[in-house]
């Protein structure tokens, strides 16, 4: 479960203070599929960074799985990210010199598992994404949709508490984007918690619950749509 209470984050840009997040509060239960919608500059990236433990808030409280994420050290945050968060990025962010399988293995390697377990879990995750026959391929030898599916496999392989997708369809054509969105729906149905961050209402419509963010303020949208 994710709970944010009165989260604020202030940046100073050229001597001017920017409230990226202004007392934002939200609550996401386990197994929910939530879209966070907002235009660029609305603070949704900051929200994602804090939610994904890439950054910590200036004030407020963030509780992830009953664990308050405070001003932890960088290494503590890295460990939390490794165990609780699965990232899916707009630009896939795969390591280009590694094969699909090696990319998916990486978070498990950082977790320090035995290599046999790492290998079988990574292969299972890729198979689940329908890429069983593409494991040895490098990202450059894969299509955009396939690359994103490798990235989703990488996010999924650690059994995270939260899958955090930042504009996952932004670099894909329409039909591939639809395909990826259906994957997220499948993941949601399988019981995963998915937070989708997007500026696109059409993409957001796939999620049963939508949160709007504007100028750092969070508002819940009526879920009957």
């Amino acid at each position: 479960m994710i709970e944010m209470k009165e989260i604020s984050k202030v940046y100073s840009l050229g001597g001017e203070e920017v409230h990226a997040l202004d007392h934002a509060s939200l609550r996401i239960a386990d197994g929910e599929f939530v879209a966070v919608i907002g235009p660029s500059g609305s603070g949704k990236s900051t929200l994602m960074n804090i939610m994904g433990c890439l950054d910590t808030a200036d004030s407020g409280e963030y509780i992830l799985d009953d664990m308050p994420i405070e001003d932890y050290s960088e290494d503590d945050l890295a460990r939390i990210r490794n165990q609780k968060i699965g990232f899916v990025f707009q630009s896939f962010n795969l390591l280009s010199k590694m094969s699909a399988l090696e990319n998916v293995e990486l978070p498990l390697i950082y977790r320090g598992l035995r290599s046999r377990e790492i290998h079988s879990r990574a292969a299972d995750a890729l198979a689940l994404m329908g890429l069983a026959d593409r494991m040895k391929h490098k990202p450059t030898e894969l299509s955009g949709g396939q690359q994103q599916r490798v990235a989703i496999a990488r996010a999924l392989v650690t059994n995270p508490s939260l899958i955090l997708a930042d504009e996952p369809t932004g670099n894909l054509d329409y039909s591939t984007g639809q395909e990826i969105m259906r994957l997220f729906e499948d993941l949601h149905e399988a019981g995963n918690t998915v937070v989708l961050i997007t500026h696109d209402d059409n993409v957001a419509n796939a999620a049963p619950r939508r949160i709007r963010i504007l100028d750092g303020r969070v508002t819940e949208e009526d879920s009957t749509c």
């Binding site: 960074n49 994904g52 890439l54 950054d55 960088e74 290494d75 890295a78 460990r79 990210r81 490794n82 165990q83 990232f87 990025f89 962010n93 795969l94 390591l95 010199k97 590694m98 990486l106 978070p107 390697i109 950082y110 977790r111 320090g112 990488r154 650690t158």
Partner: protein
């Protein structure tokens, strides 16, 4: 974890072969400089020392520089072993090059006049016949013990005992043949003709003994023997500048220190070039960290700790420098082989130098890798992810 880091380091190094090679070149040249120079110096001095050693560390050579009208006699010199406990054997030496002839052939020979003690002093071995004996000296017998090369040159065989050769019209009967000895600084006995000292004295028109070799009673008594000889000579000539005593073990130790100094100096110069190589590694690692900012961001996003990133980049520079060091050793080995072949000498790589060079290159890689690796480890993940 380390295995993984090594695999990543290797794949990163091989993915940019040209750059990796150029980076390593600094280390390769540095290692080559150390290993080749130090090996050549060590091999050269080792061979000189080996020769000196074979001359015998328990020997002293006395040269009379000025007789001051009081020639040293054979009788005096032969009395030293009885007179001093520190001295076991004394053999006077008179050398001169000459042409030895038979009825059909001739050859250059070193005529060496000495006494029967020379065999003990120089540890000579005979393959046939006998060495000089006291009666030969007393009778001025025209007999000679010759080296195997001279025997071959004159008779095309070493089975020559009883045969005769001529030097300056005087005939010598061969009474013995020496075994083949190694070449040494002072020439070898292989092409020598050893004749009675009294005869050589007359042939060369010498007056008194101008040089003699002493063998100490024990290798621990060399210094004592040297003192005794200096004492005896000073008493004899009333002047310390009219003779010189050469102590071979003293020569050895001074050569040893020369070698040490040379090695240290060359090692120092080469260490500087390794340092330059290390700076090259640091430079490339910094570029590599900057280029791979996004990769670092991704790794951190999926859970790589600072230590992981630090280890990864540190191992990468360690692998670069170690591979460079090993390649340097390989090149040195080839180069030493080539130099040995061209110079017709044997320059070998000493294992100490090889190990030291590789360890040093590893240390260089680690030290110059710390800064770039630390920079990578400290990169904030959000900014690293934002970089294109």
């Amino acid at each position: 974890m380390l295995m993984q880091s090594f695999r990543m380091a290797f794949s990163s190094i091989t993915s940019n072969k040209m750059r990796s090679f150029l980076t390593m070149l600094g280390i390769i040249i540095g290692i080559m400089a150390v290993v080749v120079l130090v090996s050549i110096v060590t091999s050269a001095t080792d061979s000189i020392m080996g020769e000196l050693d074979s001359l015998g560390a328990d020997k002293l050579t006395v040269t009379v520089l000025n007789q001051r009208g009081l020639p040293l006699t054979l009788k005096e010199v032969s009395g030293y072993p009885d007179e001093y406990d520190s001295i076991a054997y004394v053999a006077p030496t008179a050398r001169q090059s000459a042409t030895a002839k038979t009825s059909t052939k001739e050859a250059d020979a070193m005529i060496l006049g000495t006494t029967s003690s020379y065999m003990e002093v120089e540890d000579l071995k005979l393959q046939a016949g006998r060495f000089l004996k006291s009666p030969d000296l007393e009778n001025n017998s025209s007999v000679a013990v010759i080296g195997p090369s001279l025997a071959n040159d004159l008779f095309s065989t070493v089975d020559v005992v009883g045969k005769t050769f001529y030097v300056g019209g005087r005939g010598f009967t061969i009474i013995g043949v020496l075994e083949t000895a190694g070449e040494s600084l002072l020439g070898s006995t292989n092409s020598a003709a050893i004749v009675p000292f009294t005869l050589a004295e007359r042939m060369f028109r010498l007056q008194g003994i101008s040089s003699f070799t002493v063998k100490a009673a024990d290798s621990t008594l060399v210094a004592e023997a040297e003192d005794d000889l200096k004492h005896a000579m000073t008493a004899r000539f009333k002047d310390e500048s009219s003779f010189s005593v050469l102590n071979q073990s003293a020569l050895l130790s001074s050569l040893d220190s020369i070698q040490g100094t040379l090695t240290l100096m060359l090692g120092g110069i080469a260490a500087i070039s390794l340092l330059v190589g290390g700076i090259g590694i640091m430079n490339i690692m910094l570029v590599s960290v900057a280029e791979r900012t996004r990769e670092i961001g991704i790794r951190k996003a999926i859970g790589a700790s600072r230590k992981r990133i630090l280890t990864q980049f540190l191992i990468e520079s360690l692998v670069l420098s170690t591979v460079g060091g090993l390649l340097g050793l390989l090149v040195s080995w080839g180069l030493l082989g080539l130099v040995s072949y061209v110079m017709d000498a044997s320059y070998t790589m000493s294992p100490d130098v090889a190990v030291l060079a590789v360890v040093f290159s590893m240390v260089v890689g680690l030290i110059f890798g710390i800064n770039p690796a630390n920079k990578a480890a400290k990169m904030p993940p959000i900014e690293a992810l934002r970089t294109e």
